[in-house]
């Protein structure tokens, strides 16, 4: 049965609106800002690694009309749409500021990263919403942007024999190899004869979101109606009487634990009638709102993926043309999807997605990315290429099922963190942008009518718009499309196909599980390949060296060593320096916190170490709680949802808290 049809969903949406008040109260959690133990009050264990007690410091306060958190596509869409409406055609302000009478509306956006183009990812998109905002948009206006000219979906066979394939897949592989004389099989890859329409990005665009963000940001700032401030992390929402009254910026001049040191400057309170939260799937403010208000009944964000990518200079004689897009699946593990798209000037963007339903306790993105690059079908294009940028980010793959409360008193949620990603079409940027546009239209309506930003008004002006918009209608179709992956890749692919062709009426069943419910032990994962005693020995040796164990374990299980060439195939640490250009300014608290040390001590998988995109989390010398090095963190947030230890009393949360923090990637090409 389909999860929701358009008409039915409208009904459900209305029901949600009507019932949202009392249900919210059932989902209350103590806010982080006022509690020292981040779990239910019934749990009495102390948590030595929770935030230090906040000293009673005097905080400066600034009042604005609207404060936005995070400058990604959602807030870029929001601010672009809003800024166009804040002035009359003659340039005079259309609305008066409530906090500075006689002045124009004050709108400020705070971005965590050190620049507005840092820490984001590339995209191939149909760009419906972006083109609607910029009807005259031409790809040559933005560096690293091109129209999609050609698309291929490739099923990659395993040329090494090391990947973990089911019997069904092995049989399928054998059939493909046997019939390769009559099938479009080349260099261990089957070129699918057609692309399902729901996956196709025909007539779309591919671009670097970093460059696109810079382009949008420059126009916004030149307009002067709104301000965007990078390098300014927001620590938390200010919640008063179950309303959001603004945000608190991160303390500066603090040590790793957040204790004041020389030059301490308490984070300023930015008070605003409306707080727009678009800080992404692992954003600190969005997470705290989820913890405080809970999610709507039945919703949960349990499906994730880490997307890791590189931007490369292709070699001079590379045959790939600008606008070419490859989607791949099947290798290096069946669960891992890949992409490659080609910009002008022989520049390409490529990478993989490692999903949370790939049940490996050593699911390292970096190592798998290198094996993917080395697949014969891709290597013929990539051999001789040079790394110019690298990065990773978490994707919220629950889509609409992960949707939080979209609006409350004084706040609204937009973008990926609001469950806007379409998990059937694999599209998120354009959808995030559109949610920002829809909120801006609602906000302008409320400003015109001089209505306050209450839950009721925001639901009427924004949520209702969103429910009626293509973003939500298509997300309803997509809602259960990936459930089948919980049962395996083949079931998942069938489920996606069914959901796509039936417009969501059919899907393969599957129940998304939390990490601790699904991750096998290393010994079970490698059963039949590596004896338990040898696994223990490898782990002990790696821990003594302060490194993760995945490389040694994978090589022992049959994966070949990576032939480093110093250009494209480089060590993970070199990728940090050459591609990610990672930095972390001093004077801020660590943003990755292991909440309960005893849970780390009893953790058998230590997946946070294996999965860490920047090798910022490593075995701790002489301790069981992993060490965290902020100067290597690229803020992908993978540790948050890969932790296999549930938080006592809150099983949908893990023992890792991913807070607001500065620094990270310094590349604007991702």
């Amino acid at each position: 049965m389909p999860s929701c049809f358009a008409g039915l969903e409208k009904e459900i949406g209305l029901k949600r609106l009507l019932e949202s008040g009392p249900e919210r109260r059932l989902h209350l959690r103590p806010p982080r800002m006022t509690t020292t133990v981040p779990c239910d009050n019934a749990f009495s264990m102390t948590a030595p690694n929770t935030e230090p007690q906040q000293p009673a410091v005097e905080r400066q306060r600034m009042d604005v009309d609207i404060v936005c958190v995070g400058f990604g596509p959602a807030n870029a869409g929001f601010l672009t749409t809003l800024a166009r409406q804040l002035n009359n055609p003659d340039g005079t302000p259309r609305f008066e500021s409530a906090v500075a009478p006689g002045m124009p509306t004050r709108v400020i956006c705070y971005e965590r990263a050190d620049d507005i183009g840092f820490g984001v990812s590339g995209v191939v998109t149909r760009a419906r919403a972006i083109r609607a905002t910029f009807p005259d948009f031409k790809p040559d206006q933005v560096p690293m942007c091109a129209p999609v000219k050609d698309e291929k979906v490739l099923y990659l066979l395993d040329p090494i024999g090391a990947s973990r394939r089911s019997a069904t897949l092995r049989f399928g592989d054998a059939v493909i190899r046997a019939l390769k004389w009559m099938l479009p099989v080349e260099r261990e890859a089957l070129d699918l004869p057609c692309i399902p329409p729901f996956l196709s990005k025909h007539n779309g665009l591919l671009f670097s979101l970093g460059q696109f963000n810079q382009w949008v940001g420059q126009q916004l700032m030149a307009g002067g109606a709104v301000q965007v401030w990078p390098s300014t992390p927001v620590a938390e929402p200010i919640i008063e009487n179950e309303s959001v009254a603004g945000v608190r910026l991160l303390d500066q001049g603090a040590d790793k634990r957040g204790e004041p040191v020389a030059g301490f400057m308490p984070g300023m309170d930015i008070r605003a009638a409306l707080t727009v939260v678009g800080d992404g799937p692992v954003g600190g403010v969005g997470s705290q709102l989820d913890h405080h208000f809970g999610l709507p009944p039945g919703n949960h964000a349990r499906d994730w993926a880490v997307g890791m990518k590189m931007v490369v200079n292709l070699r001079e004689d590379c045959e790939l043309k600008p606008g070419m897009v490859y989607h791949t699946f099947g290798y290096p593990e069946p669960e891992i999807f890949g992409f490659l798209y080609v910009y002008p000037d022989r520049v390409a963007s490529l990478g993989i997605f490692v999903p949370s339903w790939f049940d490996s306790p050593v699911r390292t993105s970096y190592r798998y990315l290198q094996h993917w690059i080395l697949h014969p079908y891709l290597w013929r294009h990539l051999e001789g290429a040079t790394l110019r940028s690298w990065g990773a980010k978490t994707l919220q793959e629950s889509g609409r099922r992960g949707e939080p409360w979209l609006a409350g008193n004084g706040y609204a949620r937009i973008g990926e963190g609001s469950g806007s990603t379409n998990v059937l079409t694999g599209s998120g940027v354009d959808e995030a942008w559109q949610t920002g546009v829809l909120l801006a239209e609602g906000v302008v309506e409320l400003l015109k009518e001089k209505k306050p930003f209450t839950r009721e008004n925001l639901e009427a002006a924004y949520v209702k718009r969103r429910r009626a918009n293509w973003v939500d209608v298509e997300n309803c179709i997509a809602e259960k499309s990936r459930d089948g992956f919980q049962r395996g890749v083949v079931t998942g692919l069938i489920g996606m196909f069914l959901a796509g062709i039936s417009k969501g009426k059919l899907a393969a069943p599957g129940k998304p599980l939390r990490p601790h419910e699904r991750l096998p032990r290393l010994e079970d994962y490698y059963r039949g390949k590596i004896p338990a005693g040898e696994i223990a020995k490898i782990r002990a040796e790696c821990a003594a060296k302060g490194t993760s164990a995945h490389a040694a374990l994978m090589e022992r299980a049959g994966w070949p060593a990576i032939p480093y060439d110093g250009k494209l195939l480089v060590s993970q640490q070199d990728a940090l320096l050459m591609g990610g250009k990672v930095r972390a300014p001093a004077g801020y608290a660590d943003h990755v916190v292991f909440l309960y040390p005893h849970l780390c001590e009893q953790c058998g998988t230590k997946l946070c170490i294996e999965v860490c995109s920047g090798q910022a989390i490593t075995p701790s010398p002489g301790g069981s709680v992993p060490a965290f090095d902020r100067e290597k963190c690229i803020h992908c947030g993978a540790c948050l949802w890969n932790c296999a230890q549930p938080l006592p009393g809150s099983p949908d949360r893990t023992n890792i808290e991913f807070r607001a923090g500065t620094g990270g990637l310094h590349s604007a090409e991702n």
């Binding site: 560096p143 810079q214 030149a222 002067g224 301000q227 390098s231 030059g263 300023m268 010398p621």
Partner: protein, 270 residues
């Protein structure tokens, strides 16, 4: 009673220090590949000079700080969003290239003219700050030529510290050869100070300062006139990327002496 100063900081933008730069031959001479795509920062040397200026102005009520900058407008605007929260200043923007392939005398002439055009400028209160060096231009001559064009004879380069005495005179610590400092004194403004790194840490971001600065930054960018910086008469014989060797090694519990020895042997190839 402290003397109020008019402090003009000269500083342009440079590519973010972590970026990989590649010189290419452009139609107007050498240029950086993909320069407009590279994220930029305020030149680190000028960055220190700006903080020293803000620090001095804070201690001398009635003082004011200007930042005079030649850079592509769009990139300068973006950099200002990071810089403007750090210290109060008024921007004077000149729209021009910032690739580093410019001629010091030309840049200095444009900067000096921009300084002279600041309304209400009082030479008796004027201190011209800037970077002793630049992250993209190593000539080290720009500040000196600006001073000459403004008729300021008290000039100090490689400054690490400035102290204002009770009588308004200035005591300045300049870097000299051999890792030493030279102590100089002058009666007061006007003076040109080309800063080394100074001693001040990066100030924290202050959103209120940012909001205040933005009132003048955006109009200044809109007013910015294009500058002719064609490096006419200058011939670039060759432009190459410095060669680099990379080696990554993780060591623990190693003494500084041992690390130093290892680095020396790595450099010398022994």
């Amino acid at each position: 009673m402290s003397t109020p100063y008019q402090i003009v900081v000269c500083g342009s933008i440079v590519p973010d220090p972590l970026q990989t730069l590649e010189p290419v031959a452009g139609p107007a001479g050498p240029a950086l590949k993909n320069e407009m795509m590279l994220p930029a920062v305020l030149d680190p040397w000028a960055w220190h000079a700006l903080f020293e200026a803000a620090h001095l102005a804070k201690g001398a009520p009635g003082s004011k700080v200007w930042l005079v900058s030649i850079a592509p407008k769009a990139k300068l605007q973006q950099v200002m969003m990071t810089v403007a929260q750090k210290a109060p200043f008024e921007l004077v923007a000149v729209d021009g290239p910032s690739s580093g392939f410019t001629e010091a005398a030309e840049a200095a002439a444009i900067l000096a003219d921009a300084i002279k055009a600041i309304p209400g400028l009082d030479m008796k209160k004027l201190l011209v700050f800037g970077g002793w060096e630049s992250a993209s231009r190593g000539a080290g001559a720009t500040m000196q030529i600006i001073g000459e064009r403004l008729g300021i004879t008290d000039q100090f380069q490689g400054v690490d510290k400035l102290t204002v005495a009770a009588d308004g005179s200035l005591e300045i610590l300049e870097r000299i050869e051999g890792g030493k400092h030279q102590v100089s004194k002058c009666a007061g403004a006007p003076a040109v100070l080309g800063w080394a790194t100074g001693n001040l840490p990066d100030p924290p971001n202050n959103p209120q300062t940012g909001m205040m600065n933005m009132r003048t930054i955006m109009p200044a960018l809109q007013r910015a006139k294009p500058a002719k910086l064609a490096a006419e008469g200058v011939k670039f014989v060759s432009v190459t990327q410095p060669s680099q060797r990379r080696g990554t090694k993780i060591v623990k519990d190693t003494s500084p002496d041992e690390i130093a020895k290892e680095i020396v042997s790595w450099i010398t190839g022994e």
